[in-house]
Subunit: 365 residues, 2 copies
């Protein structure tokens, strides 16, 4: 093993290019510039290779950091399963297997129940509200506090915006239609379904299509038209229901191992933060544009797009409120987060009555 | 004048700190690293010093760039009037008086009528829709094309989100109440007011309060609760009307002189782009959080917050559509932009029916 390989293996290497112009005797002096050190980091993700939307966003993050740092911080992106499985991203960053990770906070709810509140809540915040809470309403500070014992620094790094309610092979006309419904829907939405009399079946993305086609499940939600179209779900289900009450948004996270973070000079830390913020906005723009386009495609292909009846949505909302409160109550850290977040989101929602919501309504009335 | 001063005056200096570690004979080699050159740039803005929201965003942009570049690109921010007046920011960047500028695109509508379409439209896009169009729907490409003949590269760099309809000393109960109304309201909203029989009076921010108090004007719109509270407008008007139909969002722009831009190495260009994108999101988060808080404060102080009647909003929407179409038709470049933008925004709005708008509604129904 060459010296350079050893350093790289440790996640820190010397930038051959940056030193190329310097003569032997001044190499040390040049190295001491904050610009003289190269970091080769690994980022594990929860996404398959080239996964639309969120996977593209993770790649964009790594590319931006490399460009801005002129190659001083290189991040190799690993798809789910390449280094660690999709749901072990947080653990891998926590123990230092990788310096960085990209995933959805609620994937590690088994270890960190409070993580769900930084991610998605049924009938909860949309992307804009989640961003206001995180960045200006105390959310990020709570998130950092919650992850600190695990040695992980979180940043918001992407959002899906409003999702869809999912693909169904049974019509939903009343609350009773959820009784006995076998549906693939993880997280808090799944808990709501269970309380409505349904049966939650969980499975990885690759198995959903066949399960739906063979009738092993009656319904599934995935993300939104952009990702759903890519998975071909419209070829295995009769009805596409809206709106995505279970996830008005999912916020994704960049995880950074805190010990690794502390080895970065201030300029590289600033670059990582800005790249995460760039992707946080860019991914939402991507989803908003591509979901719209994909929905048009699905309609052209004859998909039967339906809205859940008001009566059903009202019941789902009632049950969802119970589920979210109960989830928070089951964990002291989650209780603290939800207490602050719930009050703040209520204030944002009250204000939306006279601006954001009203603008949507007056343009179409 | 010393050599260093001459270089600085030209906007390009050698980074003394970056070179400190290098011995005389290798100075040239170190300089040749993309990291070896320091740029001292000026950014003129349309904002008073420490102006809440948008002014804070401009300062954030400069700070981020300096941090990320480790001081290689230093941007001195000038308030409106310090180097050039508020409305001459675009001109100053175009002729190279300053390398950068920060303002609102519609401020230069006299020179570039199409600029308005990248900024704000009555009953037009909210921040989320404007961002999707700009970054994923072809908007930015059109914007760059429109500004190129002026030697200016534009980037989206901040958004207000939904504004308010403004402060009134006369009640608005019907469309007839706009007849004879003297109101400070610039831009396309002002054109709508004129067609409704009102009289548009324009004046700088510093004169609004007195004009409202003395009755020289009957009404004014400014931005939203956050900025309006800072200006004390609630102490000079009886009614605060919502929603901000005239500006569901204002997007701000970073202007870069193209010749100056081309002197930046690729890493600094990437840093500027990411900093603009960071501010684009952060400023919206800031407005969403602070507007909500300021509205609470205004209500506590007894402000009479009212919603414009549906009948009035319907008429305003009808007239606004005429105004926007006529504005586009009056300029061939604007015609091209609006043709593409109008179709795209309609598609986004159609899709919002089954997601974003519906989520706002089902949470409160």
């Amino acid at each position: 093993m060459k010296r350079r390989d050893i350093l790289t293996a440790a996640g820190v290497g010397l930038a051959a290019t940056a030193l190329a112009g310097c003569q032997k005797q001044t190499e040390t002096a040049c190295e001491q510039q904050s610009t003289g050190q190269t970091f080769n980091w690994k980022m594990v993700t929860s996404w398959p290779k080239n996964f639309p939307g969120v996977g593209v966003g993770a790649e964009r993050f790594a590319k931006l950091v490399e460009e801005m740092s002129n190659g001083r911080l290189k991040i190799k992106v690993y798809a789910a399963g390449e280094l660690v499985p999709a749901l072990e991203v947080f653990d891998a960053v926590s123990r230092g297997t990788a310096e960085m990770g990209h995933g959805a906070p609620y994937y590690w709810k088994g270890k960190v129940p409070a993580a769900q509140f930084f991610c998605a809540l049924p009938f909860g915040p949309n992307a804009q509200e989640m961003n206001a809470w995180l960045h200006k309403g105390g959310g990020i500070q709570l998130w950092e506090e919650v992850y600190k014992p695990f040695g992980v620094l979180p940043m918001a790094c992407g959002a899906t915006g409003v999702q869809t309610a999912g693909w169904f092979n049974k019509e939903i006309n009343s609350v009773d239609d959820f009784k006995g419904l076998k549906m693939r829907t993880p997280g808090l939405g799944g808990e709501v379904l269970t309380r409505m009399g349904g049966t939650v079946v969980n499975m990885p993305a690759g198995e959903i299509f066949t399960a739906l086609q063979t009738g092993a499940i009656d319904a599934t939600e995935w993300i939104g038209p952009y990702n759903d179209l890519a998975l071909g779900l419209h070829k295995a289900a009769k009805y596409y229901y809206t709106p995505g009450w279970q996830e008005p948004n999912v916020t994704f996270e960049l995880d950074v191992n805190i010990k690794a973070w502390e080895t970065l000079p201030a300029d590289l830390q600033a670059i990582v933060r800005a790249a995460a913020r760039d992707v946080n906005g860019d991914m939402l723009d991507d989803y908003n544009a591509r979901n719209m386009e994909a929905m048009e495609t699905l309609k052209k292909e004859g998909v039967d797009v339906r809205r859940l009846p008001d009566e059903v949505l009202a019941k789902l909302r009632e049950v969802a409120a119970e589920v979210v409160d109960a989830t928070a109550a089951a964990d002291p850290v989650a209780t603290k987060v939800w207490e602050q977040q719930k009050a703040y989101l209520q204030r944002l929602s009250d204000y939306a009555e006279v601006n954001e919501r009203d603008i949507y309504n007056i343009r179409r009335s």
